[in-house]
């Protein structure tokens, strides 16, 4: 009995640490792949794939300056808050083809709320550093948060609603979504609707991650780094890492909602070890493909939107697109 509780406690403590490490490593790795591929697309050689690790390593040895006019405790607390928010995201999302660490405790709605925490931490960081550039960046980040929320919520809710029609399990659970892959449930019209929802989810992803063309809040060229303009050294490194973790988590969320398939049941591999290895590799491949489509190619191909364009794009166009997707799925159910 006591040994069991002790074991549980150890798992509860060690699990998040391990997941945080894996998230950081793979997040940074994907960031490196991203930079390398973008460089290739622009006809450059580009930095080695391990470059983000070197960047973090370097930032760790730099001095962390806290500006005189900043609110010191908030300025120091927000990087940690941002990191914690990103890591707790990872705990609720199924990773590597396995169940989520906290499976059964939180659903897609919790994940949606948690998604705002790193962004909120960035906003507070921007305001607390009391630099005009950072303040403008923080306001822009808030506008972006409000803009992409609707299409994101629409995709998740519509899919949960459709799954809820065929099962009594809580359809918002990501494990339910994995048990009833959405593509098998719908007819031809529904497939069209789903493709539209996937599209809107893929467009929301770069906005959520603050990547080009939606990096209005950081806008190197006009805002000199925006939100993070006053950050240096270790604090900047924490933001860097949490951004990498968040990218990994958000893309994993897309995978978990739309492509929760595992390769091992399809190929009929039952032995645990090869099945796990296969699933992990397949998961990494899925993450890479989605990242490639919605971050890497987009980043190399287009320039940055203005803040009003980005906001209008999400609020009007993407909302309309996701509603159209919803109507298609509705028609599919009715007919």
């Amino acid at each position: 009995m006591l040994a069991d509780t002790l074991l549980n406690v150890i798992v509860l403590i060690a699990g998040p640490v391990i997941i945080a490490f894996l998230g950081a490593i793979f997040g940074l790795l994907y960031l490196g792949v991203d930079r390398k591929l973008v460089a290739h697309m622009q006809g450059r050689i580009g930095p080695p794939i391990v470059q983000p690790f070197r960047d973090v390593d370097k930032l760790m040895v730099k001095e962390s300056i806290i500006p005189d006019s900043a609110i010191a405790w908030l300025f120091k607390a927000t990087p940690i808050l941002c990191l914690v928010g990103s890591i707790s995201l990872l705990l609720y999302i199924p990773l590597f083809g396995q169940n989520a660490m906290l499976t059964g405790f939180g659903d897609a709605i919790v994940v949606m709320y948690l998604l705002t925490i790193p962004s909120l931490a960035l906003v507070v960081a921007g305001f607390s550093s009391s630099s005009p550039y950072a303040t403008v960046g923080a306001q822009r980040e808030m506008v972006m948060m409000m803009s992409y929320e609707f299409p994101l919520a629409m995709s998740i809710v519509v899919i949960a609603w459709r799954i809820g029609l065929v099962t009594n399990l809580n359809p918002f659970m990501l494990s339910t979504m994995a048990a009833y892959p959405i593509w098998g449930l719908v007819g031809p019209l529904g497939i069209v609707g789903l493709l539209i929802l996937v599209f809107s989810m893929l467009i929301v992803t770069p906005g959520e991650l603050g990547k080009i063309p939606f990096d209005v809040a950081e806008a190197e060229t006009e805002l000199a780094g925006g939100l993070l303009v006053e950050y240096s050294g270790r604090n900047l490194a924490l933001f860097y890492i949490s951004n990498a973790i968040k990218s990994f988590a958000v893309v994993s969320l897309v995978v978990a909602i739309f492509f929760p398939y595992n390769l091992s049941p399809i190929l009929g591999i039952t032995a645990t070890v090869p099945a796990v290895i296969l699933d992990v590799l397949f998961f990494l491949l899925k993450v890479f493909v989605i990242m490639f489509i919605c971050v890497i190619v987009v980043r190399a191909a287009v320039a940055r939107f203005k803040i009003d364009q980005a906001s209008k794009f999400y609020l009007l166009i993407m909302s309309a697109v996701s509603l159209v997707g919803f109507v298609f799925i509705l028609l599919d159910v009715i007919i």
Binding site: G46, Q51, R54, D55, D57, Y133, S232, L236
Partner: protein, 144 residues
Amino acid sequence: MGLKSFKRALWVYHLNTGSCNGCDIEILAALTPRYDLERFGIVLVGSPRHADVLLVTGPVTNQMAPRLKRIYDQVPEPKMVLVIGNCGVEGLVFHESYNLSGPVDQIIPVDVYVPGCPTRPEAIIEGVLKAWLKLEKPVKEKVT
């Protein structure tokens, strides 16, 4: 570990202190596909707080002198200063002009001088290499 990755991940901040823009264009040229400084991990950043290296071009006008000093102070330690172009090295055509506060090394300590008018991108890359060597030197001396 620290210093090794330091020299493989230099983030540079570029400051124009009254140059004719020739050298600034050459710095940008060093980042283009032909020379591609990013393959050495060198990135142009928008804020002096993120920078490891300050690239200074131009002869430092009276107006820019206090700002140069201030931006230098904003760069977190450890930092390096590279002067790009003859202007910043010794004044060039602006030498002894009435509105100059002198070449860059009169205002802030300079680590590497990269001459040329304008400097070639190859020279800028060589300058960064010199900065690496300079970073390595104290480390080696400490060991022996």
